[in-house]
């Protein structure tokens, strides 16, 4: 496989960061040169463990996801009947957990847990990023921060989905869709926390907001809290759950949120640049791929295969 300029740059950076020696460098170059140009051929031929092959998320990220996931669903379950209290359907739902007074307490307790998980996430990100920057290992394109390249990648991926392109673009550890989703969730959480806190601590917000707009602010918060909640519920149900549960290749469930690992197939398809880093960082992955390529002769292009077929007949 001939690497694109971007892929080559990712590879060089990774080898520099990992202090790759000459022997390893040769091994890496050998395995890459024997990879087929058609990445579909590659990811359809690798064997993946359904619960994941390659490490992706640390235990901290998994705990943060779990906290957010559990609190989000239970907040939605307790919050919707509170927001729409005057609707007849809300009464039995509130009754299920002991009436509105109880569900309010549960809702606020869970909200505190959700805020804690946000704080945990921000502190953890700050700690890890600072550590990486100090060690000279931080790579902006490997992070969730959007870059201009994401626009090109998005355009190319759309071309692929409309049949105008042979292969999906080479995407990094976080693809455009994940970045949009992440920042949408971050923004949504912030809206929920600010608006929710304005219900519990109105005096606090009244002290910060100018008197002329304090009442407007409260009105705005009253409107945004339930509507942002509905929006989030729809995004989770139709977008997130489609991507991680229902999409072909992920059905019935992507295990990354539990095991922290991604399947090899998925990594090559949607995070090819990260897979190149895996080849640098993981000797066993290199060995696996080289053995597979040798065994199946995937590196041959179609014309070579025709030649072999002709010679055999």
């Amino acid at each position: 496989m001939k690497l694109s300029a971007e892929a080559q740059s990712v590879l060089e950076t990774s080898m520099r960061i990992n202090n790759t020696d000459d022997n390893e460098r040769q091994e890496i170059e050998k395995v890459i040169s024997s990879m087929p140009d058609d990445r579909v051929l590659l990811y359809k031929n690798v064997v993946s463990n359904p619960i994941g092959d390659i490490y992706r998320y640390s235990i901290h990220i998994r705990i943060q996801h779990m906290l957010t996931f559990v609190t989000f669903l239970t907040l939605a379950f307790t919050g919707l009947p509170i927001a729409f209290l005057d609707h007849s359907w809300a009464q039995p739902l509130n009754g299920l957990i002991g009436g509105i007074d109880i569900s309010r307490v549960i809702h606020r307790t869970l909200a505190a847990v959700m805020v804690l998980s946000m704080v945990y996430h921000v502190v953890y990100l700050f700690y890890v990023s600072t550590k990486e920057i100090l060690q000279g290992k931080f790579e902006l394109r490997r992070s969730i921060i959007p870059t201009f390249r994401d626009i090109t990648v998005f355009k190319e991926d759309m071309q692929y989905f409309f049949g105008k392109r042979e292969q999906r673009p080479e995407m990094d550890k976080f693809m455009y869709k994940q970045k949009i989703h992440y920042f949408a969730a971050a923004f949504g959480n912030l809206v929920m926390v600010i608006s929710g806190s304005s219900f519990i601590f109105p005096e606090f917000w009244a002290a910060i907001i100018p008197a002329s707009s304090a009442s407007f602010f409260q009105e705005l918060m009253r409107l945004s809290h339930p509507h942002e909640a509905l929006l989030a519920l729809l995004v989770i149900a139709f977008w997130h759950w489609y991507n991680v549960h229902l999409a072909p290749g992920r059905f019935p469930m992507q295990w990354t949120f539990l095991t922290g690992k991604i399947t090899r197939e998925h990594q090559i398809e949607e995070h090819f640049l990260e897979y190149l880093r895996n080849l640098v960082e993981l000797p066993e992955e290199r060995e696996y791929l080289q053995n597979l390529l040798d065994a199946r002769e995937l590196s041959l292009d179609v014309e070579d295969e025709f030649k072999i077929a002709e010679e055999e007949t």
Binding site: V46, S48, P50, L80, H87, L230, I236, H245, M253
Partner: protein, 38 residues
């Protein structure tokens, strides 16, 4: 190619899927109730 899941893995995966489908149904039901002002 992704290898076949073991029975235990299948149990976990499909029950999680069941749970999220239940939540989707619940969420949509609530939104429908809200929109129709039932």
């Amino acid at each position: 190619m992704i290898k076949e899941m073991t029975p235990l893995q299948k149990l976990i995966a499909y029950s999680t899927l069941g749970l999220i489908l239940f939540w989707t149904a619940f969420g949509l039901f609530t939104i429908w109730l809200y929109l129709t002002e039932f």
